[in-house]
């Protein structure tokens, strides 16, 4: 399968790869997917005192589109409040990356990841 330019860009230069302290009170972790399905995403967000996401990190096991979806997501969530971040739709990610229909599930997984991370941070409050 041929990949779009934006997928290739994120795949070759993934943004915000890394790990945050999952035990910190202002860090939320979302781990979604399953190895059996061929993709696992771990997305972490760190919120400052004003409730703004100041840092986002990810690691993804999966195809190029899964890696690109999570990389793009980390760019998008920075600077947003939790409520704003929860508004991000998988269709926006898929559109931005020009994902073909068979890869749309990668963007769904990214949406699941940010929701899971937000839930995690809220459960710590």
């Amino acid at each position: 399968m041929a990949y779009g330019e934006k997928v290739m860009d994120h795949y070759e230069n993934p943004r915000n790869v890394g790990v945050l302290d999952k035990d910190a009170k202002n860090v939320g972790t979302g781990m979604v997917g399953a190895p059996a399905c061929g993709d696992v995403m771990r997305l972490q967000i760190q919120v400052n005192d004003d409730g703004i996401i100041e840092e986002a990190k990810f690691k993804t096991y999966g195809c190029g589109s899964a890696i690109a979806s999570s990389s793009l997501l980390t760019e998008w969530v920075k600077g947003k409040t939790l409520d704003e971040a929860a508004e991000i739709k998988n269709t926006d990610l898929a559109e931005e990356l020009s994902l073909p229909p068979v890869k749309v599930h990668c963007s769904v997984l990214a949406e699941d990841a940010i929701k899971a991370a937000i839930n995690d941070i809220k459960s710590k409050a």
Binding site: Y11, P35, G38, D39, Y61, C63, H105, D112
Partner: protein
Amino acid sequence: MSTPTYMDYSATTPVDKRVAEQMIKHLTMDGDFGNPASNSHYYGWKADEAVKKARQQVADLIGADSKEIVWTSGATESNNLAIKGIAHFYHKKGKHIITLKTEHKAVLDTCRQLEREGYEVDYLDPLPNGLLDINVLKATMRDDTILVSVMHVNNEIGVIQDIEAIGNLCREHKIFFHVDAAQSAGKVDIDLSKLPVDLMSFSAHKAYGPKGVGALYVQRKPRVRLEAQMHGGGHERGMRSGTLATHQIVGMGEAFAIAKAEMANENIKIRALRDRLLAGFDGMEEVVINGDMESRIPGNLNISFNYVEGESLMMAISDIAVSSGSACTSASLEPSYVLRALGLSDELAHSSIRFTIGRYTTEKDVDKAIDLVRDKVQKLRDLSPLWDMFKEGIDISKVEWTAH
């Protein structure tokens, strides 16, 4: 842009230039373009001569009589003709068929179709190394079993089945034996004058011949009968109608003649390259070879780089053209059914890469592949949450995942 290095010879091979040169002679006005069935004039005779020669060349590689060769459009058609042909012709003798879970789809889907027609099919599990346990086969045979179909060489993992032992068992039980040899002709010695095989499928394009042509060996003594799947002018002794594609057939003949002449030396060269590739991955962590290493064609290396997803690895090493057991693109998200049948975990199956080396592979190509793979596997593991977990000593199989 330079083109990627080709290491996917089990998907298809380029046509050997010597083959293409022969094929071109049978197309144009100044060549032998006639219909081999036109037995009333010069053009037909010349084309018929070319087909006869090719039939002999194919027969010579596999130790068959040229009268036992039926031309088809490829191994898929040969498999269909063999399996449906036997099942339909001998249905009064029984309706039970045995095959392997790791067969090519052309065999599996043909069997599925026969199930819809009321036949019963057993799909046997191979051993973890990909080989068939002859005792399992024996225990599955019934009085109404009419056909056993087992591939000679597996397309994904390259393992070679012991078709002599399987064939002998079939003979003992008076069961027809079909072998899909698409991946073995020109790579493994085949002598059908000695092997207990009734039907064998061949493809030209896996052996440096053209796509779109294949053959089915149908044993004559004792005679094996088939119900035709393609009806028409009664070509190929009524087993497969349709005007013979002279240039394609000539190509297959030439490719098989070259294979016969060069196979022994070529296998030595290819094996050395494959071993060099494998040695190049020495010292990497969490690397698993899929399929038996002893009973295996020289050109195949199917290997899983654990915690790295196969499709993204293929993308990272796009300077070499390989294939993967990962099926992230398919709607089902199911990884390779062949690797799953060996008992591999889904994640290991998703992490597999198949390198297949062939006639035009060089040491330089192999060294490039080694450097690229080592570099990119590391890069992707640095990006992999599963690798982190592995390093932290977490057993991934015990984690409760939210499957989607």
